[in-house]
Structure formats: structure tokens, C-alpha cells
């Protein structure tokens, strides 16, 4: 899932808003994150059910949110992240799921579903699609060369500590940071030992000050460019999304570079997020939407998607079809100890969101 420039999305959002095509009984319109499905998933679905899939992609929650809140999006299945879903549910965006049409729900991991109780009680409106974490991707060899063997690669210090980042910067080693205030300010608060979900302005601003202090050592703020830059060695530390960093690691390996990219979940705590499949209230083909969601919950299908996009799936029955290298990789499927240290972003009231957006703007622009 590469969350690329928001621009293409604005265009997509505009066209989506215009799209109110007539419903066809034999099709399902799916709106999902970009690069977030296996190449043969849709084909297999059509083969099995005879339902044609119209598949569009977005790369930020904001764009999906705007499309949903405008109403009449024309889509049957959309995949918002958990903290956006909650608010959209309260705005009445989604219809209740008919669990009788989703027999494959039995495949879902019960422990994970318990975690989701606070987000969507009883899975009334949504089913998890994939999940992942926000952490640090780094160039193993170059970071070691600059910071030595005891480099704090398991800590947000690699991004937020002024001395560490200055050393990296002087060593010609760029640092990239996600351009989302929500993710980075929460990480900053976790690093400061504050609650990462704090709604106190003082806490949010403290995290802002923390990042502003290392601002000059940060090469750029961007939410997807780090994938190729990490892979090419143009930057060597990035705060990013787990699957994106694994993608960078794969690309670096394929290119045969003399360095490798690793992913770590910082010990101070990191965000755990879920992307949730939901059906808009005005979906033209709700039956087909249920069929699609149920199909994604097939163990082989979920396993194939995970192997392709390197994000964990919530499907416990899929584990036996999964490459053991992925299943046993604790940076993809963290163990319980790490899981306990993760936090799940919540929806925020407008006043708190405002403080976060404004603080983030101050971090970046200095105004």
C-alpha cells in the first residue's frame, strides 16, 4: 500500500463524487488502497462468482473520507483505516453487515477481533482486511557505519534524538518522515513517554517541539517516496508503514545493492492499525459486496494477498497457506510482548484534530 501524492487522489475523489452510475446486478465496485491486493485476487473472484469487479484505488484515508462524507460514492466495498471508520460509522456512512452472508467470518482470529471490539462492536459495520504497524525502516549497513553497533535502531531515538539525527545527517544519511501529523505526533508522544493518544494540547505541542528540534536533520516529509529512496540508498532511515518498508527491502535485495533494509517496531510503542472492509449505506450492489468480503475471507485468498503486499491478515485459517518466513517474522506478525506495546489510533474530536494539524503545520513550515 503506497500512500502516494495526495494529488491523484483529489482527482479521483472528484471523479468519484461525480460517479453515480446505474447499478448492475453482476458487478461490484471496490475502492481500495493502491497496491494492496494480489494480482490474481479479482480474477479469481470473477471466476468463482461470475461477478465483475470494478476496482479503483486511493492512497489516503482523507480522500476516501471526503468521498464517503459527500455521499453517493457509488462504491460497494471500501477499506478505511480503523480511526476513520469509527467516525464514518457515526456519520451513518455504512450499512449493517448481514453476517449470514459472511460464513467465512469464522476464519477470523478471535484475539484480534477482541481488539477490534472498541472500534466496531460486534463487527456490525466492518470486517478487517489487513493490518500493520508504523515503525522505522533503516539501512542496516550504513546506519551501523555511522552510529556504531549499538545504534538505537529499536527506538524512535533514531528519528527524534537531536544528536543521533545530526550524526546521521553529517554522515550523509538522509532521514524521511511520514507527512501525516497524526502518525508522527503520536510517535513523538510515545517517545516522550506521554500517552500517544493524548488529546491534551500541551502533550501534542511537546511532540511538535520534539520534531521541530530535529527538523533540520530531516531530509523530507513524505508518505510514500521513502519506499524507492530507501531501496536505492538515497536515504537510510525512514519512519513509515510496515508493508511499505518491506517492499523497499525486497526492492533493495532484487537490485543487488551492497546494503539491506530492515524494519523495526520501536520499543517506546508504535501504532497498530487495521484497514476495514465496509459497505456504504447507499451501495448499489450490497449482495455482491457481501460476496466479495466473504471471498476475501477465504484462507487461500487472504494468504495470497499477505504474501504479495506483506501486510498481516486477520485470517487465522490462512496461516497454513502462508509462507512460514512471513508467518514467523515478528515484524509482520508481532509476538504478544510487542503487541502489548502497540497503540491503536482513535478518532479525534475536531478541536483535538485541529491542534494536531496545526502543530504539524508548525513543525514543517515554522509558522
Amino acid at each position: 500500500m503506497s500512500r502516494q501524492s495526495k494529488l491523484s487522489l483529489a482527482v479521483a475523489a472528484a471523479s468519484v463524487a461525480l460517479m453515480t452510475g446505474a447499478a448492475h446486478a453482476d458487478e461490484v465496485r471496490v475502492y481500495n488502497w493502491s497496491d494492496y491486493i494480489a494480482p490474481d485476487t479479482l480474477e479469481k473472484f470473477t471466476e468463482q462468482t461470475g461477478i465483475r469487479v470494478i476496482y479503483d484505488v486511493y492512497d489516503s484515508n482523507e480522500v476516501l473520507d471526503a468521498a464517503m462524507l459527500s455521499g453517493r460514492s457509488g462504491y460497494d466495498v471500501v477499506v478505511p483505516s480503523n480511526h476513520y471508520l469509527t467516525r464514518q460509522v457515526s456519520a451513518g456512512v455504512y450499512q449493517e453487515l448481514d453476517h449470514d452472508k459472511l460464513p467465512n467470518m469464522a476464519n477470523l482470529n478471535p484475539e484480534l477481533m477482541d481488539d477490534l471490539e472498541s472500534i466496531d462492536p460486534g463487527s456490525r459495520h466492518s470486517i478487517p482486511y489487513m493490518w500493520g504497524t508504523n515503525g522505522i525502516g533503516y539501512n542496516v549497513e550504513r546506519v551501523e557505519a555511522i552510529l556504531g553497533e549499538d545504534a538505537p535502531v529499536d527506538s524512535w531515538a533514531l528519528i527524534f534524538d537531536p544528536e543521533v539525527t545530526a550524526a546521521l545527517n553529517e554522515g550523509g544519511c538522509g532521514i524521511a518522515v511520514l507527512d501525516t501529523g497524526d502518525d508522527m505526533l503520536s510517535a513523538g508522544m510515545a517517545y516522550l513517554g506521554l500517552s500517544p493518544l493524548s488529546s491534551e494540547s500541551a502533550d501534542i505541542e511537546a511532540a511538535g517541539d520534539l520534531i521541530a528540534a530535529v527538523r533540520d536533520n530531516i531530509t523530507y516529509f513524505h508518505s510514500s517516496r521513502y519506499i524507492s529512496d530507501l531501496a536505492n540508498g538515497d536515504i537510510c532511515v525512514a519512519a513509515g508503514y510496515s508493508g511499505d518498508i518491506f517492499q523497499a527491502a525486497d526492492r533493495a535485495e532484487e537490485a543487488g545493492h551492497d546494503f539491506s533494509i530492515a524494519y523495526s517496531i520501536p520499543k517506546e510503542g508504535a501504532a497498530l492499525w487495521f484497514d476495514m472492509m465496509a459497505i456504504p449505506a447507499d451501495a448499489p450492489n450490497p449482495d455482491n459486496a457481501h460476496a466479495f468480503i466473504n471471498f476475501i475471507l477465504e484462507p487461500e485468498i487472504a494468504a495470497a494477498i499477505t504474501e504479495y503486499v506483506v501486510y498481516a491478515n486477520p485470517n487465522v485459517a490462512a496461516n497454513e497457506f502462508l509462507d512460514p518466513d512471513i508467518l514467523n517474522d515478528t515484524s509482520i506478525y508481532p509476538d504478544q510482548e510487542v503487541m502489548d506495546n502497540l497503540f491503536v489510533q482513535e478518532e479525534k474530536p475536531l478541536a483535538v484534530q485541529r491542534v494536531r494539524t496545526r502543530t504539524w503545520n508548525r513543525v514543517k513550515s515554522g509558522i
Binding site: S5, K6, L7, A10, S60, E62, V63, D65, A66, M68, L69, S70, G71, R87, S90, A91, G92, V93, G181, Y220, F221, D234, L350, Q353, R354, T357, R358, N361, K364, S365, G366, I367
Partner: protein, 302 residues
Amino acid sequence: MSNNLVRLRRLFKPRRGWVIAVPLLWLTLFFLLPFGIVLKISLSEAAISIPPYSAILDYGHETLNIVLTFSNYLFLTTDTLYIAAYWGSVKIALLATVLCLLLGYPMAYAMARAPMRWQLVLLLLVMLPSWTSFLIRVYAWMGILSNNGLINNSLIWLGWIDSPIRMLNTNFAVILGIVYAYLPFMVLPLYANLTRLDGSLLEAASDLGSSKLNTFFKVTLPLSMGGIVAGSMLVFIPAVGEYVIPELLGGPNTVMIGKVLWEEFFHNRDWPVASALAMVMLAILIIPIALFHRYQSRELKE
């Protein structure tokens, strides 16, 4: 009085009415209606609903309640960010307009003076780049300006610099991008204006002993004022609200109103404040539009 009546009657002659109807419909559909919607949203309150703002009209218990919220406008004055963003946009747009004029005027002048058979080719050369997608052309600039892009690599290869000069993600890149993208909008009205310039006036000037430079400043330039004003407006107005170019070429310290508007709309999900921002931007833009209009009507009278 009777003169006015004649004019009025002429206006409402059936055929004339039809001619006016098309632009009128256009204006209503694509300006007045969207304007009304944005104005309406700017006077509502953000809410968790579809659409995500409160209704300003509410009919219940046999009463019609109209609730207008002006707090969104007041809110814009509470934070210096918004003023900084408006100022940033106007500054960058002004600079880009001046650069477009300095580049575009000689181009248009040369085109208008070129032999007739060349003019069409030159005109095509100005317009041809706009036949490819605007987005792709801006992306191309990213490739040219980036640290390991065309310019930096060539300069390093030539041995003129050791480490890349940072050009992408700066205000310089934004201005460059705007000048590049909007240059045709400056050149075309200027060209149209300059080709209409009466050559006998220039001859008269030279007969009277005026130097070429003097003729240019005393005759050509004043007569092409209409083209200059039109071109400058066509560049300045869209440049103020430009979002794509600063997003792709600008850096974190490029604070322009388009970006702030995006943040209000998408990050804060506060459509009313975003709409209020847009209304204020429109108010700022109406000043040059009104000036342009006054200039135009004065010219028409002459």
C-alpha cells in the same frame, strides 16, 4: 433617457437575448451555483454527518429556522497561519506574473513581428506543450530539478559543483513551475494584442524622428496595455489558488492557501472553515478582476 430605452430595447430583441443566454447560463452553472454552495457551507458548522456540516435552513414546527454561523470567518483571524498563507500565495503569484510578463512580452513581440508564414508555427510551439497533461509536465520538472536530476547530474559531471544544489521542494521550484505552466496564458493575449497594433503608428513615430526604443515605450507599450493586463490576470488569478505545483515542487516551508485549504478540508475535515477560506480568497481575487473589468470597459469605450 430615450437613448437608454433604445439600448434596453435592443438588448431584449429576441436574437440578442439568445446570444446573451449562453454565457449567462454558463456563468450561472459554473460560477454562481458553486459560489452559492461554497458560501452556504462557509456559514454552517462542521458536524459528523453526511454531508459533514450542519444545515442552515431547518423547517420544523411550522417555523423556518435559518442558522448562519459566522464563526468560521472569525476563526480565520485567530491564527496567523491563514494570513501568512494568503500572503505567501499572493507573493508567489505576483512574482511569477512579473516573470511571465518579462519572458512572455519579448516572445509575443517577436512572434507578432515574425513573417506571416512563421507566425502559425511559433504560435503552435507556444501551445503545443499544453497538449500533454499538465500533471506530467510538472512531474517532469521534478525529474529535472531533483538532487540526482538532470541539472544537478550535469553540473556534477562538468565538475562545476561537488554536491547537488537543492532546487526541488523550494519556493524557487514553485515559481519556476508556475512560470512554466502559465507562460502561454501570458503570451497568447499579448500576441493577439500586438498583431493588431497599427503599423502606421510606428511609421509615423519614426517619421517624426523617434528612436526605436522611444517608439517602443511611447507607442507600442501603452497600446499593448490591454494585452499586458489580460495576460497578467490570466496568470495571477489561477496562480494564487494553485495547489498542484506547490504540492509537487514546493517544500515544507512553501505556505500557500491551496495547501492550507486542503489541510482544512481533508485533515481537519472542517468543510465550513475550508469554505470560508475559499470565500476570502475569492474576495481577494475579486479586486484584480474588478480592476481588469474596469480597464476593459474603459478600453471598449475608447
